[in-house]
C-alpha cells in the first residue's frame, strides 16, 4: 500500500515502453508479409496463419506432459447468444469479437484491457477478428469494416465506398495492404449472391468486389439454364499465398437450395473453390466440387494450403475436406485437380470422376416432397469447423460427421423447399469423430469418437509439440496424441462448442484456448508465475 504511487508510476512507464515496442515491431513488418508462415507466440488471424494449417510452432505442451494441463482462466462474454469465433492473440492480448464489438483481454489472466461497443448491439453469432500492424479489424452487421487501435480500442476508420452489402460475420483477412471480407448477400435486399470484397488497410477505402454469381458477359452465366443465378454465399474465411498473390475462398450452394428443377446446369460459381488475384479481385481459376447441387453442400469448408511432394513431384497444394464427403487435393497455382477420396463411409449423392474431379449428381437422390435419404446429410461430412494439417505426422485432422439425412420439398413447385432432417434409419444417425487422414493418400489413419456429439462440432489445431487439441460439440475438450489419436487429457466445459481452438504463448508459457457457450476457456501447464508470493 505504501508503494502504491511508485508502483503506479512504474506501471505507466512499463506500459509506455511496451507500447513503443509494439509499435516498433508493427512498423517493421512489410505490407506483403503481415504474418509468419506458422503461428507461434501469436495467433493473429482465424486460421493462425495464411495457410490455415493451424500447425503451431509451440512445443511446451507435448504428449508426455499434456496429462498435467489445468484450467488457467475463464472469461464470460456478456450479451451474445453464443460464441463461434476464434479469439486472436497478439503480444499477450486476446481479442474476442462479436458483430460491432471487441473485448481485449490480458491473455495470461483473462482480465479486461479494453472493450469496444458500437451500435446496434446484436447477440448474433460471428466468427472473428484479425489483428495486424497494431490494429484490430472487425465487421459490423450493417455492412462496414472497422479498424481499431489494438492498444486502446479507439476507432481509426470505418470503411468507405463500395456497393451496399451484408457481411456474414466471417473473420476479415489482412493481406497485401488490404482487408478482405465476404458475405452472403450482395446488395441489401433479395438474393444478390455471395461476394468477396477488399478495402485498403490504411484508409478503409473500397477497392474491389468479386461476386460468386456470374454477371452479364461471363460465359459461366450459361450454366444456369436461363435462370437468374443466386446463392454462392461466402461465410467463412479464406487462405492466402503471399508468393502467388492469390487468395482462396470456398463458395456456398446455388439457390434455391434443395430444388434444382428451375436451374438446369452446373450453376457456377456455386460450391466452388476459387482463386482470386489479391490486387484486382479477378478470378484466376475455379474448381467446382458439387455441380448442380441440390443438397446444400457448400464448399465453404476451410481451405488448407500445403507444399509437399505429391506423386513424386513437389507441389503447391490446396487441401479441402468437403461437405459432400470427398477430400480434395488441388494444385493451387492453377486449380488442377489431383485427387478426391471419400473420407466418410457412405457417400451416395453422386460420383466424382477420378481423372477430372468433376462431380456427377445421382438423380435418384434429388430431394422430393416425400423426402429422399442421401449421404452425407445436408449438415455435411464436415462443415465450418477448421481442420488442421501437421507436416510432421503427414496427417490432415478433420471433425467428421458420419451419417445421412432426409431432404424434403414443400411442393412440386420449382423453387419449393423446406428443410433437412437426420436419417431415421438406425445406422445412418449422425456421429462426430475427430478423424486423421493421410494428407497425401486420403486414407483414414485414426478416429477419436466424440461420444454423444452429432452435429457440426468444433475445429481442431495441432502443434510441433505433437498434440491435437480436440474440442467436442458436447463440451469436452481433449488433447490427443497427434500420431495415434490417443487421448492424453480432457476437461468438461459444460456447454456446447461450435468454435475452433487456438494456441499462443505469453512469457514463454503455452496456452490452449477455446470458446464454449458464451465463455472463453484457457488451459496450460502448472507453473508458479501466477502464485501470490507469501509475505515474509
Amino acid at each position: 500500500m505504501k508503494n502504491f504511487a511508485s508502483a503506479w508510476g512504474r506501471g505507466i512507464f512499463r506500459t509506455l515502453l511496451m507500447g513503443t515496442a509494439v509499435a516498433l515491431c508493427a512498423s517493421a513488418a512489410s505490407a506483403q508479409d503481415v504474418y509468419p508462415a506458422q503461428p507461434g507466440k501469436d495467433w493473429p488471424i482465424y486460421g493462425g496463419s495464411y495457410n490455415n494449417q493451424r500447425y503451431s510452432s509451440l512445443k511446451e505442451i507435448t504428449p508426455a506432459n499434456a496429462g498435467n494441463l489445468q484450467g488457467k482462466w475463464t472469461y464470460h462474454v456478456e450479451g451474445l447468444q453464443g460464441l463461434e469465433s476464434v479469439p486472436v492473440v497478439v503480444n499477450g492480448v486476446m481479442y474476442v469479437s462479436g458483430y460491432n464489438r471487441i473485448d481485449a483481454l490480458d491473455a495470461r489472466t483473462g482480465n479486461v484491457v479494453w472493450r469496444f461497443r458500437r451500435q446496434p448491439a446484436t447477440p448474433a453469432y460471428q466468427r472473428g477478428a484479425a489483428v495486424a500492424h497494431n490494429r484490430v479489424y472487425i465487421t459490423t452487421n450493417d455492412g462496414h469494416v472497422l479498424a481499431l487501435d489494438a492498444r486502446t480500442g479507439a476507432q481509426i476508420w470505418e470503411s468507405k465506398g463500395g456497393p451496399k452489402v451484408s457481411f456474414s460475420g466471417m473473420p476479415p483477412m489482412v493481406a497485401n495492404g488490404k482487408i478482405l471480407v465476404a458475405g452472403n448477400r450482395f446488395g441489401t435486399v433479395g438474393d444478390g449472391g455471395g461476394f468477396i470484397q477488399a478495402y485498403d488497410e490504411q484508409t478503409g477505402e473500397y477497392r474491389w468486389t468479386w461476386r460468386a454469381v456470374p454477371e452479364n458477359g461471363d460465359p459461366a452465366l450459361d450454366s444456369w439454364g436461363g435462370h437468374v443465378p443466386g446463392g454462392g454465399p461466402i461465410w467463412i474465411g479464406g487462405a492466402y499465398d503471399p508468393e502467388l498473390k492469390l487468395v482462396y475462398y470456398g463458395t456456398g450452394q446455388p439457390n434455391p437450395q434443395w430444388s434444382g428443377k428451375g436451374r438446369p446446369g452446373d450453376n457456377l460459381y456455386s460450391d466452388c473453390i476459387v482463386a482470386l488475384d489479391i490486387d484486382t479481385g479477378k478470378l484466376k481459376w475455379y474448381f467446382q466440387n458439387t455441380p448442380h447441387d441440390t443438397h446444400d453442400y457448400d464448399s465453404t469448408e476451410i481451405i488448407v494450403l500445403a507444399d509437399m511432394t505429391f506423386k513424386g513431384k513437389p507441389r503447391k497444394l490446396a487441401l479441402q475436406a468437403n461437405r459432400n464427403g470427398y477430400y480434395y487435393i488441388l494444385d493451387r497455382t492453377n486449380g488442377e485437380f489431383l485427387q478426391a477420396t471419400p473420407f466418410v463411409s457412405r457417400v451416395d449423392w453422386g460420383t466424382v470422376d477420378p481423372k477430372t474431379g468433376k462431380g456427377q449428381p445421382d438423380p435418384a437422390h434429388e430431394p422430393t416432397v416425400k423426402g429422399t435419404i442421401t449421404c452425407p446429410s445436408t449438415a455435411g461430412a464436415t462443415n465450418w469447423p477448421s481442420p488442421a494439417y501437421n507436416p510432421v505426422t503427414g496427417l490432415f485432422y478433420v471433425t467428421t460427421t458420419e451419417g445421412c439425412g432426409v431432404n424434403t420439398l414443400a411442393s412440386s413447385a420449382p423453387d419449393s423447399e423446406t428443410s433437412y432432417l437426420e436419417s431415421p434409419r438406425d445406422k445412418e444417425a449422425w456421429q462426430l469423430y475427430t478423424r486423421a487422414i493421410d494428407a497425401r493418400t486420403g486414407t483414414i489413419k485414426w478416429d477419436y469418437k466424440q461420444v454423444r456429439s452429432n452435429h457440426y462440432g468444433p475445429g481442431l489445431l495441432t502443434s510441433e509439440g505433437g498434440i491435437v487439441f480436440s474440442p467436442e460439440q458436447f463440451g469436452q475438450v481433449s488433447v490427443l496424441d497427434a500420431k495415434t489419436g490417443r487421448s492424453l487429457w480432457h476437461y468438461n466445459t459444460g456447454d456446447l462448442i461450435t468454435a475452433s481452438p487456438l494456441t499462443y504463448s505469453v512469457d514463454g508459457h503455452q496456452y490452449l484456448a477455446i470458446a464454449s457457450g458464451t465463455n472463453i476457456f484457457t488451459f496450460g501447464l502448472p507453473d508458479r508465475s501466477t502464485a501470490v508470493e507469501k509475505k515474509p
Binding site: E84, Y125, S166, S377, A379, G405, S411, L421, V451, R452
Partner: protein
C-alpha cells in the same frame, strides 16, 4: 424480426432461404379460432379435411405425393413452419406458384375454421386433444395388464427404469405416444439445421450390461455418457457414476420398452390406455408461435 436476425447470423445459409420463404406471406393475426379445442368441431374438421385435403396432403396431414406434410413427427417445429393463422390464410387464399388452390368460396368459412381446429389439435401436444376412451380403465391397464408401472413412474408411484410419464401428454403429441408403444423404430429427430442452445439430455434409455475393469458386472439403464464417463441407473435402483477407465466392456441390450402394445392388448384396452396417457400432464400456456422464433 426473424428474417433480420437470421440474415445477421448469416452463416446458416439454409435459414435465410427458409425464413424468406415463410416471410413471403404476410403474417395475418386474426381473432383466435372459435373452434380450437372443441372436440365436436375438431371431429367435423377431420371429416372436412378428409373430403378436401387428404388426396394431396395424405391422411392426418402426414404428406402425400403432391402436397407437403402439415403435421410432422418432430419434437420441435420446423424452421419457417406456418402458425395456425398462416395455415388458415393458405387454406382460404391458396399458395401461389403451387398446386394449392384457394378454398374461400368453395368451403364454408366455418368448415375452414374447423379444419384449422383439427390441424391445431394434430399439431399440439396430446394434452391439447387427448384421445378418446375410458380413462379409468386405461389407468387400470397402466398398472395392471400393461405393466407400464414396472418401469415408469407417475407422480411418484411406479418404477425408475423408464422415463417419468407424469407430464408425458404435455411434452409429446398423441401420435408420438402411440408410436412409442407400437413401433420399434420411433426415434424422434429434429430439424437438421437447428443449432442447439444447450446440452440436451440423453433420452434413449439404453439398457446396458457393463463388465467392470476391477471385476464384476453391472446392468442398468444409461442416463448419460460422454467420452470419459458414464452415468448409470443400475437394476439395483442406485446411481452408478463411472469413469470409462472403470469399464472393461459395455454392451447395449435389446430395448426394454415393448413396442407391440397394439397386439398385447385388445383394441379397447389399447385405446383406453392411450386415453389415460394422453391426459397425463399440465397444460402449458400457449406459446407455440414464439418457440419457433427461437430457432435458426
Amino acid at each position: 424480426m426473424k428474417l433480420t436476425k437470421a440474415l445477421a447470423i448469416g452463416f446458416v445459409i439454409s435459414t435465410t432461404v427458409l425464413s424468406a420463404h415463410a416471410q413471403r406471406r404476410a403474417e395475418p393475426s386474426g381473432p383466435p379460432n372459435p373452434f380450437a379445442g372443441n372436440s365436436q368441431a375438431i371431429a367435423q374438421g377431420e371429416q372436412a379435411y378428409n373430403q378436401s385435403c387428404t388426396s394431396c396432403h395424405g391422411p392426418n396431414g402426414g404428406a402425400g405425393e403432391i402436397g407437403p406434410e402439415i403435421i410432422h413427427n418432430l419434437s420441435v417445429p420446423l424452421r419457417g413452419e406456418l402458425n395456425d393463422d398462416q395455415i388458415l390464410d393458405v387454406i382460404r387464399n391458396g399458395a401461389p406458384g403451387t398446386a394449392m388452390p384457394a378454398w374461400k368460396g368453395k368451403l364454408a368459412d366455418d368448415d375452414i375454421l374447423k379444419i384449422g381446429a383439427f390441424l391445431h389439435a394434430l399439431r399440439g401436444t396430446a394434452i391439447d386433444n387427448p384421445l378418446p376412451g375410458n380413462v379409468a380403465h386405461g389407468e387400470e391397464i397402466f398398472w395392471g395388464k400393461g405393466q407400464c408401472g414396472s418401469c415408469h413412474m407417475l407422480s411418484g408411484k411406479g418404477a425408475l427404469k423408464g422415463p417419468d410419464l407424469s407430464n408425458v401428454a404435455a411434452e409429446y403429441k398423441s401420435n408420438l405416444i402411440v408410436d412409442a408403444l407400437t413401433k420399434p423404430n420411433h426415434r424422434v429427430y429434429g430439424d437438421g439445421g437447428v443449432h442447439l442452445r444447450s446440452l440436451p439430455p440423453m433420452d434413449t434409455y439404453d439398457a446396458v450390461h457393463i463388465t467392470l475393469s476391477g471385476g464384476g458386472t453391472l446392468d442398468g439403464v444409461l442416463l448419460n455418457q460422454d467420452s470419459y464417463s458414464l452415468q448409470l441407473l443400475g437394476d439395483d435402483n442406485q446411481l452408478h457414476l463411472l469413469q470409462r477407465a472403470q469399464v472393461r466392456a459395455l454392451t447395449v441390450k435389446p430395448a426394454l420398452m415393448p413396442t407391440d402394445y397394439d397386439k398385447r392388448l385388445t383394441k379397447d384396452e389399447f385405446d383406453d390406455l392411450m386415453a389415460f396417457l394422453t391426459r397425463q400432464g399440465r397444460k402449458a400456456p400457449a406459446a407455440s408461435a414464439s418457440r419457433n422464433a427461437e430457432q435458426e
